[in-house]
């Protein structure tokens, strides 16, 4: 059986660690032209108390391809990608879940849930729930499917408070949301809005890949300047 370290090592050559700094969105770590917040985060509600991306996911490069393929493919190859992504999440949470909790103002997260797909048809068999609920030891005992895509007729890609419904009321408990990819954040923020309306306490999201385009403005130069190989001892939240 593979160990978490052996599998995460396979991704370290292309993972790119987000870091705070000028021209980095303070909410979601998107690369901006010097703005404090990116366009998406300054034009919709920011319900989440903290967003922690593990790596940048560069359009058309390997991590981006894996984050799309683990949902699209079937069979042995899909299982292999799933177990590799589980290893990334496991290692990140093992080292840095306390950083996420601290940033969200929580002691710990008693409940972990996943952001459902914006597309209802795809949510019934979402492999992310298998990753968080079965493969990742640090989350499997705390995983609960709290959210469902509502029947509201809303754009699958837009932020909407009515996009998701919660399966039960919440009593101020801190909740850790997990998603594979953050592009504009509309799904994760919609999910957070539903949880907050149901009575959730501090809300944090950990995402595997923060989507970026290499050919946008200075992104190529800025992405090249990030550390490689990937350093698991520091995360986007705790790195100086």
């Amino acid at each position: 059986m593979p160990t978490v370290r052996e599998l995460t090592a396979l991704y370290e050559n292309f993972m790119l660690a987000p870091r705070r700094g000028p021209g980095v969105c303070v909410s979601c770590f998107n690369l901006t032209d010097g703005y404090r917040r990116c366009y998406a985060c300054s034009h919709r509600a920011n319900v989440l108390d903290v967003v922690a991306p593990i790596s940048y996911s560069v359009a058309h490069e390997q991590l981006h391809h894996v984050l799309a393929s683990y949902k699209r493919l079937t069979g042995e190859v899909a299982r292999r990608l799933r177990i590799q992504l589980a290893a990334l999440l496991w290692r990140y949470l093992d080292g840095h879940e306390p950083c996420v909790a601290r940033a969200a103002g929580a002691d710990a997260f008693p409940v972990v849930t996943t952001v459902p797909s914006g597309d209802r048809g795809r949510d019934d068999r979402h492999p992310l729930r298998c990753i968080v609920g079965e493969l990742v030891a640090p989350t499997r005992t705390r995983h609960e499917r709290l959210l469902r895509r509502s029947s509201a007729n809303v754009d699958a890609r837009a932020f909407d408070e009515d996009k998701y419904t919660t399966v039960r009321p919440l009593d101020g408990e801190p909740i850790l949301l997990i998603d594979d990819t953050w592009t504009t954040g509309s799904n994760a923020q919609s999910a957070a809005a539903a949880l907050r309306a149901a009575g959730a306490g501090p809300l944090a999201a950990v995402v595997i890949g923060r989507h970026v385009n290499r050919d946008w403005h200075e992104n190529d130069r800025r992405l090249r300047a990030l550390d490689q190989p990937f350093d698991w001892t520091r995360c986007a939240l705790c790195a100086q």
Binding site: P2, T3, H64, R72, A137
Partner: protein, 284 residues
């Protein structure tokens, strides 16, 4: 089998060649149709281009080549999972479901006697464990890997840097004709494409993509094997280095990269690949 109109549409897109082939793989997978991308890109010209492409596809099929597009269920599953997969491959012979368990064994064109022995021993161990041996049909280590797999009753896949109708090196023409009986020769290039400086690194990316891992048996700092090691790591696939390489500086540096494993005995190759690619469960 491929849906012929979609195959012809993809050939038409690639012949017009407005963009990098990998971009077409993304566009076609996203749209679920090559025809839709062709119509979008070529408008009124699409029909004419499609007719010309369909004639080419028919001619290639008549020559015994199978064309597989990213839309075909038979497109190799391992290759589908790498970002720079070609949208279309040409196959001589037959790809089998069991070729998902494949390992690339590669190295120098001018091996030492002990390098050849190691290549043969590694190919034998892989075949004994049910793995398909992938290599590049070059002289030296590649030839030893292919011929040992065949001699041991195993399967082998040659990923070549020319079109299927060409052969490089010429002295491997017989091997190129022999492999399709118990495996496949595959190419991402037009069937009449001659070898070029650019084609071999592109071929290395496909070889890495076809395999669960790449083993470098013997190589120097100028070998194409180094290119493949870099590409395999960029695909998130393990690179296995035979320990005798480590007295070279490039190899020692490569061995320090994450995802690289140093191999001391041939039997370690299938054992390490088996452990790293097992999908049963994950441990701390």
């Amino acid at each position: 089998m491929s849906c012929a109109p979609e195959t012809a549409a993809l050939v038409a897109l690639l012949r017009a060649g407005k963009r990098n082939p990998t971009v077409y793989a993304d566009l076609v997978e996203e749209a679920g149709s090559a025809r839709a991308v062709l119509d979008d890109e070529q408008g009124l010209l699409a029909g004419q281009l499609l007719d010309a492409a369909a004639a080419e596809v028919t001619a290639w099929s008549g020559q015994g080549m199978e064309l597989l597009t990213v839309l075909d269920p038979g497109y190799p599953a391992n290759l589908r999972a790498v970002h720079d997969r070609p949208p279309l491959i040409f196959v001589a012979g037959r790809l089998a479901a069991r070729d998902g368990r494949a390992v690339a064994v590669i190295g120098t064109r001018r091996p030492s006697p002990s390098g050849l022995d190691r290549a043969r021993a590694i190919a034998q161990e892989l075949v004994a464990c049910g793995y398909t041996v992938v290599s590049g049909l070059a002289a030296g280590i590649d030839t030893a890997a292919h011929t040992t797999a065949l001699a041991g009753g195993g399967r082998t896949i040659a990923v070549i840097g020319t079109g299927l109708l060409c052969c490089y090196p010429a002295k491997n023409a017989a091997l190129q004709r022999q492999i399709p009986a118990d495996g496949a020769v595959i190419s991402q290039f037009w069937p009449d494409a001659a070898p070029s400086r650019k084609s071999f690194p592109l071929r290395n990316a496909v070889m890495s993509g076809m395999a669960l891992a790449t083993v470098i048996v013997e190589a120097t700092h100028t070998s194409g094997a180094r290119t493949q090691a870099r590409l395999a790591l960029a695909h998130g696939r393990p690179v296995l280095l035979v320990d005798s390489l480590l007295d070279q500086r490039w190899a020692a540096e490569l061995a320090s990269r994450p995802g690289t494993h140093v191999i001391r005995t041939p039997a370690e190759v299938p054992a390490v690949v088996e452990r790293l690619t097992s999908t049963r469960t994950l441990v701390a």
